[in-house]
């Protein structure tokens, strides 16, 4: 992957070969656009009591109204931005923790590595949702707390990916050359090791975002979301009490979550194939077979 032209060519072949990657990417772009323009294209104010309570989907309210007569489509569109923001925020925190700890474990090796790897292993054993619930119950349901809590519960997979990548790179000639030239360990880590091994973690981002969105929705559904704000999980939380008479309050926000998760997973799978040439060869042989 050192050759830029080669890299570009492979990216193009990925685009051509992997239809699902393209579909996923389109889905993500759609959600991003809605997140950006949600407040403009929403037909009504999501907080205003605009119609009668529990109006079934009709031309006036495409996805119906909730218990207070608020338009569900508008809530969904306006909630998109916060969902995306939360996904980026939590993934960013997870990326930072994972990259730093993983790089330290992989680079320093020996006791540091065995200790940190053991620590990653333990953090993976703690039931993630239980921990997140407990943290939010202790520190409050504010959206910022939620972002930090989710970021702090999803990082171990990043750390393990980073560690593996650093292990494979730290004995390369350019790193040894830096050692001989007398560059300090920290400098080597920051300027040589991390930039050259971060690609696997970046590729993992879409799956991490999927986890963050799912975790937020689950927490909101359980009543641990920020009630001041509209997120997709929050709409379902409000709707579930009236679900028996108004199915649309639950069904549509759920479909929105599925659309986003599906897109993120398709892109994640595509990236995984892209970074693992072995899979790509299989894909090419599949093309020949067809």
């Amino acid at each position: 992957m050192t050759n830029k032209g080669e890299f570009g060519k492979r990216l193009l072949s990925l685009y051509k070969l992997n239809k699902s990657f393209t579909i996923g990417l389109s889905g993500i772009i759609l959600v991003l656009i809605v997140g950006l323009l949600g407040n403009i294209i929403a037909p009504y104010d999501p907080r205003e009591f605009i119609g009668k309570p529990f109006e079934a989907p009709c031309l006036k309210h495409l996805l119906g109204t909730d218990n207070l007569g608020r338009d569900i489509l508008s809530q969904l569109l306006c909630g998109t931005r916060l969902t995306i923001f939360l996904a980026f925020g939590a993934t960013g925190i997870s990326l930072a923790i994972g990259v730093i700890l993983g790089a330290i474990a992989g680079y320093y090796g020996q006791h540091v590595d065995s200790f940190l790897s053991w620590f990653f292993q333990i953090t993976l054993t703690i039931p993630r949702l239980f921990l997140a619930m407990l943290l939010i119950a202790l520190f409050g349901t504010d959206i910022w707390v939620t972002i930090v809590v989710i970021g702090c519960t999803i990082w171990p997979s990043n750390a393990r990916l980073m560690r593996a990548q650093v292990l494979s790179i730290k004995n390369r000639p350019f790193v040894q050359a830096s050692h001989i030239a007398g560059v300090s360990n920290i400098r080597i880590l920051i300027f040589h090791i991390i930039p050259n091994s971060i690609s696997a973690v970046i590729a993992n981002t879409s799956l991490q975002m999927a986890q963050a969105v799912l975790l937020e929705a689950s927490l909101s559904f359980l009543g641990l979301g920020d009630v001041e704000r509209i997120t997709w999980g929050q709409i379902i939380y409000t709707g579930k009490m009236y679900m028996r008479n108004a199915w649309w309050t639950v069904v549509f926000p759920g479909l929105a979550i599925i659309l986003l998760l599906l897109s993120l997973h398709l892109v994640g799978d595509g990236f995984a194939k892209f970074l693992n040439p072995r899979h790509e060869k299989q894909a090419q042989s599949k093309l020949v077979a067809l």
Partner: protein, 325 residues
């Protein structure tokens, strides 16, 4: 066998510090939470005398390292504290709820493991085909369905719209039946929640098995088996599938942490009287001794399950016990 025993003992010694770390983490959470730790454990409405009692018991008036030592000692002796809402020992409350959770998880998880693994192998074998693509798309869509949403939709379809065709909440009807009628009643209540857990877990087994069958079908020993004239059927079942099932075994142990999360949501949606529902109630009643107790027990269960699967894995695959020693 000697090497297997050695491996098992070594893994057992690695598991003990892991348990300690979980207890330390629980301790840190209490310390880091806003406010006086004694108040956190005594509850918002506790009398000053009770707060003082809790402070003494956990030694919150002493230096931090001493507090930690005392906390570890208390938890290690099986004393998880007293529930604020139920006024019962936490350990007893958890023990009472475990059977209901196991019943539900076992049904859903077993079904998921068997169907997921079988479909995954079948899908990989038929690749490339429309069937393989269809199965992959369907399972990916199931994989992306939030558990709580799956549960709600199942309730809508099979209980609300079909006028109570299947029960949507609880573990048995009130008044409680007796004998065989009770068993059937519980089974009927189990259907929807176990399908929810099945949908939550099946895709993982499917994806894992499908990927590993793919990987193994391109290994040299499989090619060799084909070259020496073993028929395709036997190559697949004896050489591919047997090796491809291993990741599913690991998944069954390692995935338990996630499974507990899924169980919590499922039990909450269906008001199933298990550990997950207990955790949910504890969080909302701000019953922190109970919530901490469940977190510790949950993590311990996962550690033990990981240990058991690791040993099972070493038993199935001799390379593991030799490589690390």
């Amino acid at each position: 066998m000697a090497s297997l025993n050695r491996y098992a003992i070594r893994r057992l010694f690695q598991a003990i510090p892991a348990l300690l770390v979980v207890i330390v983490l629980a301790f840190l959470l209490i310390q880091l939470s806003p406010g006086d730790p004694a108040w956190v454990l005594a509850g918002d409405n506790a009398s000053p005398e009770y707060v003082e009692q809790v402070r003494q018991r956990y030694g919150f008036d002493r230096p931090l390292p001493e507090q930690l030592w005392l906390y570890i000692k208390t938890v290690a002796s099986g004393d998880l504290g007293y529930s604020l809402t139920y006024h019962l020992p936490v350990a007893k409350l958890i023990a009472d709820r475990i059977p209901a959770s196991i019943l539900l998880l076992l049904a859903g998880e077993l079904l998921a493991a068997i169907v997921g693994t079988a479909l995954g192998a079948f899908s990989a074998k038929s690749h490339p085909s429309a069937l393989d693509s269809a199965l992959s798309s369907i399972t990916l869509s199931l994989y992306c369905m939030p558990t709580f949403w799956t549960g709600l939709i199942l309730i809508l379809v099979f209980s609300v719209w079909t006028k109570g065709f299947l029960p949507a909440s609880g573990m048995y009807s009130v008044p409680r039946m007796h004998g065989l009628a009770y068993v059937f009643d519980v089974l009927k209540h189990m259907i929807l929640p176990s399908i929810t857990i099945f949908i939550y877990n099946m895709p993982t087994y499917f994806r894992l098995t499908r990927a590993s069958v793919f990987e193994i079908m391109h290994e040299d020993f499989v090619t060799t088996a084909r070259f020496i004239g073993i028929n395709e059927r036997e190559v697949f079942y004896r050489h591919c599938l047997r090796n491809a099932i291993l990741p599913s075994v690991t998944m069954a142990g390692l995935g338990l942490g996630n499974l507990l999360g899924g169980a919590l949501i499922t039990e909450t949606v269906f008001s199933w009287p298990g550990i997950g529902r207990l955790m949910y109630d504890a969080i909302f009643a701000r019953d922190f001794p109970l919530a901490m107790g469940i977190l510790i027990i949950g993590a311990m269960t996962v550690i033990v399950a990981t240990l058991v699967t690791d040993i099972a894995y070493a038993f199935l695959d001799p390379r593991i016990r030799y490589s690390k020693s």
